[in-house]
């Protein structure tokens, strides 16, 4: 018989759809509507994992997402190959489907026989603060002994080792009202809120079936109908409303600013034959005008010796298994409780044919009507009794109980034989989302619970998470939250409990393992030790013992831990504080968070119009900001060094062609354009003639170099500004900021034209010969078109802004053409250039050539603390203008100090040694450490044109140190070098100044 503990009828399962699931290689049988937990219980077993620290056998504690023990590795589609397995799925909420391959965690070699269980015997070693105490010293043990141990011990389950094969979707939505949780309060709230059809309502529930706790309820009636029927009717009404989106299998996991709600919808895992391409999960980001939190509550375990033995579960969970899933958690049940609600479990278990006893720590006179009802149903109830311990190892076989005297003494023990225990330590409202919203919690002593207090955002809590436990009151509270005063008449709920932190025992508490936090294996003893060692704030106790810090965020354990600490310190519970809840409410897959933003879509790559040609011609690429740029163009057998040496030679001896399209380009237009340029740049612009170019330098208001680039004046009122590749957005926004906020009187507008114009640089002694044949409407003669000039006309029949500029020192043109024509123009010029052995070159050669000329790159030589004078560009700073951005800062005393770092050349003594960029420079390496540093290397290359290595550096008072010998750090020590001027190459013939 494959399901010996399956009841013959009832439950929210579809008996027409039998299913099988693989569990540790064995086959579990069940039905659609089951979870892995209910199938395991149907098979007669509770053993579902080993614990994290002590490797104790663990069962199923809960029926919900608060489950701390039964964590499974699940391969969702083993038939589709690798990449669909993830760890730490809670067996209690995994919707079972044929084909799932599941396995338990934290054991070796098997769940039944786990060598790690020796930790349980060594447990005196693993006391509170164990990590802090044990791994302090000796230092040399850290790498080889401690760290590997911590790493091995710190993880729950095994992380997947292959890329996630699934795809994940995301969606943004707006709602007037978002309702979290579809139990009685949430359903009522959603119905009320959507009543008049004017509001968009989203109802999300983490479960795969709506109804919340009512799914476990076979006795309550609402307005004369069974609870399950009421749920069906409510759901049907909501489904029929066009203004309502109902989302089962959707966990609201994050409550952020201004009612920004994040939730994850499980789309595919539960589906048989999910079509290829269907997203596995969908991340929803909802902006809601109002959030109604109807998240329910969590039951607390009781804390007694061996309260973690398989077969011991929460009382409401036992009821859920019996009623919702139609499985019996055993034959003989002991219900251990300090409150009323567990009596409902006892009655339902009795009605389902189980042998049931109740052990209640409360005295008979403190109990409510539940006591009489249980006794009249024939259930043996021991009031005023404590549970001293549970018996059994891999399955509970009984509990030892004892009466409590009036003085708190523990009386004569007796053993109750059983194969399952349902325990209830009272209830904790789920205030996680309210706390995430930054609302303030308020302690309610009568409920022994923190409740939502002062709100920080537009939200309201309803039902059990609001501290309301009676069914008709819950429903009324839901309606009220949704804006209605509807009330119903429902069967009275057994409510009320007497909180007890640790059940009284006559055993030596130092030898007792009574678990508070099951997932992190924290016992009452650990918390007592932490308090004894002086930890009093709950935040410190948490970190020292790790209680409440596991993936379940202490949903079942927090209140027991808090109460225990408060009791030990003899302080009121709210004085201990409560912990801050943070997203996510339950673990979220990385896949859902990342969504489609992976691989090529992780970060969009900007490519130029010339990029396809570069790919086809074997370029190696490098990322520059978001751009992909050709780094160099190796020929067969060439490494980077050889390719760059060849490219550099070619530009100096004949002609090279370079894709400069990534340079930022901004058009500055308007009657006040020249005045605006005067204020934004250090240079004077009024006298720049139309058709002229100038190298512009831009400072921040702090006086430091911000960007540079060639600026062309196309008309009296129109400038074509170029910026560095990486600086384009920054420069544009800098201009925009000043225009809008400081000088709104200036009649100027600016437009980014980076994406409109491609730029092809043709550089070298033969550059003119390559370009000239294709140009029309422009006088190309030297006299008419000198260096640092711009002309508008046509090239290859398409419009061009043709710049006569050079960043190499050679004769150069920058052919700006509309991007759609750029590749064709490039190819035409390249074909013509073959007559002169034209050489395409990349960014590396561009860098070497400009360094040979001593031209700086902003962001390489400068680091946000360099003034124009520091980098030898004081000649670009107008002395005549009354003001420009950054001018006043240049006059601050610190900006004029003689020992500021200044740009110089630096030549290694060994001409074949290429210094490291970023290397520190010192005067005397024999000085004691720390050796005073006088500067650092900013750019360094091997220059084939110079026949040696060259470098630039920023050196304190550098211009006064020319020819001084210095020492530069290397990976091995120091190397000798000489300070020089920063111009390394003299161009023959035509003289250009960039």
């Amino acid at each position: 018989m494959s399901q010996p503990f399956r009841r013959s009828s009832g439950g929210h399962i579809d008996r027409t759809q039998p299913i099988t699931v693989s569990f540790n290689g064995k086959t579990l049988h069940g039905y659609r509507g089951d979870t892995i937990a209910s199938m395991l219980i149907a098979s007669g077993s509770h053993l579902a994992g080993r614990s994290f620290k002590y490797h104790r056998p663990r069962g199923i504690l809960s029926h919900g997402s608060d489950e701390p023990n039964a964590l499974l590795s699940v391969d969702w589609r083993p038939e589709k190959g690798e990449g669909r397995r993830d760890p730490n799925n809670r067996a209690s909420v995994v919707e079972a489907r044929s084909g799932l391959k599941t396995a338990t965690q934290n054991h070796w070699p098997s769940l039944e026989t786990d060598i790690g269980a020796v930790n349980d015997l060594l447990s005196p070693v693993f006391v509170a603060g164990f990590y802090y105490k044990t791994f302090m010293w000796p230092r040399k043990f850290w790498d080889k002994v401690y760290e590997p141990f911590i790493r091995k011990a710190a993880g729950l389950g095994d992380a997947p080792e292959v890329p996630d094969a699934d795809r994940y979707a995301n969606r943004h939505a707006h709602a007037d009202i978002l309702v979290v949780g579809a139990g009685p309060a949430g359903l009522s709230a959603a119905l009320a809120a959507s009543e008049d059809g004017s509001k968009r309502v989203i109802l999300a529930d983490e479960g795969f079936k709506l109804g919340g706790a009512l799914l476990n309820d076979v006795t309550s009636e609402i307005d004369g109908k069974p609870a399950a029927v009421w749920v069906e009717e409510m759901v049907a009404q909501l489904d029929a409303r066009e203004n309502v989106i109902v989302l089962p299998r959707t966990t609201v996991f994050g409550y952020y600013n201004h009612n920004h709600i994040a939730m994850v919808e499980r789309v595919a895992d539960h589906r048989d034959n999910a079509p290829d391409g269907l997203a596995r999960e969908r991340l929803w980001q909802v902006r809601a005008s109002k959030v109604i939190i109807a998240a329910g509550s969590h039951e607390r375990p009781l804390v007694f010796e061996n309260n973690d033995r398989p077969g011991i579960m929460l009382a409401e969970s036992a009821r859920a298994f019996i009623n919702r899933y139609a499985v019996l958690p055993g034959k003989s049940l002991v219900v251990a409780t300090c409150g009323a609600s567990a009596y409902r479990t006892a009655l339902d278990a009795k009605a389902a044919g189980m042998d049931v006893k109740i052990v209640d720590i409360r005295l008979g006179e403190d109990c409510g009507p539940e006591l009489a009802e249980a006794r009249s149903a024939g259930i043996d109830v021991l009031t005023g009794h404590t549970v001293v311990k549970a018996l059994g190892t891999k399955r509970v076989t009984g509990v030892v109980v004892a009466p409590l005297g009036n003085d708190g003494s523990v009386g004569t023990r007796r053993t109750l034989t059983c194969d399952c225990v349902a325990m209830s330590g009272g209830w904790t409202p789920s205030v996680h989302l309210f706390s995430q919203s930054r609302g303030k919690l308020a302690f309610d002593a009568s409920l022994d619970a923190f409740l939502p207090g002062q709100s920080a955002q537009e939200e309201v809590s309803a039902g059990a998470c609001h501290g309301i436990y009676d069914l008709s009151e819950i429903i009324a509270d839901g309606y009220k939250a949704g804006g209605s005063d509807t009330s119903v008449s429902a069967t009275a709920t057994f409510t009320g409990f007497q909180p007890v932190r640790v059940l009284p025992t006559d055993a030596d508490p130092k030898k007792v393992k009574a678990f508070i936090d099951f997932q992190n294996d924290v016992t009452a003893k650990d918390i007592k030790l932490a308090v004894r060692e002086g930890f009093e704030s709950i935040e410190h106790v948490k970190r020292y013992t790790t209680t409440g810090m596991a993936t379940d965020q202490g949903k079942t354990s927090n209140m027991n831990a808090l109460g225990l600490v408060a009791g030990l310190l003899d302080r009121p519970l709210p004085a201990i504080g409560t912990t801050t809840f943070r997203p996510p409410y339950t673990p979220v897959t990385f896949g859902a968070l990342v969504g489609p933003s992976r691989e090529d879509r992780f970060e969009p790559v900007r490519t130029t119009a010339i990029d396809p040609w570069a790919v086809a011609n074997g370029a190696e690429f490098e990322p520059v900001g978001q751009w992909r740029r050709a780094h160099y163009f190796p020929k067969a057998g060439e490494d980077m060094h050889a390719a760059v040496a060849r490219e550099c030679k070619a530009v100096r001896t004949s002609v090279g062609i370079f894709d400069a399209s990534t340079l930022g380009k901004i058009e500055v237009v308007g009657p006040d354009a020249a005045e605006f340029m005067n204020r934004i740049y250090t240079n004077a612009w009024a006298k720049l003639k139309v058709g002229g170019c100038r190298y512009g330098l831009m400072l921040g208001e702090n006086g430091f170099v911000m960007d540079d680039g060639v600026v062309a004046r196309l008309a009296e009122d129109r400038f074509h500004v170029t910026t560095t590749t990486g600086g384009a957005p920054r420069v544009f926004q800098h201009m925009e900021d000043y225009l809008q906020t400081e000088w709104p009187d200036l009649d100027v507008f600016i437009t980014s034209i980076t994406e409109q114009w491609a730029a092809i640089a043709v550089q070298g002694p033969n550059a003119r010969k390559v370009v000239e044949p294709f140009v029309s409407d422009i006088d190309m003669s030297e006299g008419a078109f000198p260096h640092m000039a711009v002309r508008e006309g046509f090239i290859c029949g398409v419009p061009t802004r043709l710049f006569r500029v050079s960043f190499t020192g050679e004769t150069g043109f920058e052919v700006n053409v509309p991007v759609d024509y750029a590749e064709a123009v490039w190819k035409t010029l390249y074909e013509e250039g073959r007559k002169y052995d034209i050489t395409p070159y990349g960014t590396e050669t561009m860098h070497v050539l400009r360094c040979e000329m001593g031209f700086i790159i902003v962001g390489q030589e400068t680091d946000g603390t360099a003034t124009p004078d520091d980098v030898g560009l004081s000649g670009l700073v107008s002395k005549k203008k009354p003001d420009f951005v950054g001018m006043r800062s240049l006059a601050r005393p610190d900006m004029l100090l003689p020992d500021r770092k200044q740009l110089v050349g630096i030549l290694a003594k060994d001409p074949n040694e290429v210094l490291e960029e970023g290397a520190q420079v010192v005067e005397d390496p024999s000085l004691p450490v720390p050796v005073p540093m006088i500067g650092h290397v900013t750019s360094s290359y091997f220059s084939s044109n110079c026949g040696r290595s060259i470098a630039m550096a920023m050196i304190k008072g550098g211009r006064a140190r020319i020819d001084q010998t210095v020492w530069v750090t290397t990976p091995k020590g120091f190397t000798e070098a000489t300070i020089s001027t920063s111009v390394f190459h003299t161009v023959q013939g035509e003289k250009v100044d960039a």
Partner: protein, 101 residues
């Protein structure tokens, strides 16, 4: 993610905006006539209050316009957004605006 009301476009998510620091610090008319101390104060000294803070925001990935906002630095709630050049609203004198959410 904050929800910010651009005075020109309405409520938009924070990801579309860029914060430009404290508002109502006008660039001096004649910087060259300022003392080093006053210039340093203009450049670097900011109030950094706990509570209501007037700050510059730009709807960078929307209309591109700069505007000012009053934001509570404790709760992140925006009390007002207003156009560049307008004076800081007197919150005590006006009824509380509708919540941004």
């Amino acid at each position: 993610m904050l929800l910010i009301r651009c005075p020109h476009c309405g409520n938009r998510p924070e990801i579309e905006f860029h914060c430009g620091g404290e508002a109502h610090i006008a660039r001096p008319e004649t910087p060259s006539e300022m003392t080093d101390q006053h210039w340093a104060e203009f450049l670097y000294y900011r109030t950094n209050p706990k509570g209501m803070h007037a700050e510059r925001w730009q709807h960078r990935h929307g209309c591109g316009r700069w505007f000012n906002a009053l934001r509570d630095t404790v709760t992140d709630k925006f009390a007002a957004t207003y156009e560049m050049g307008s004076p800081r609203p007197d919150l005590a004198a006006t009824p509380a605006p509708a919540r941004t959410a």
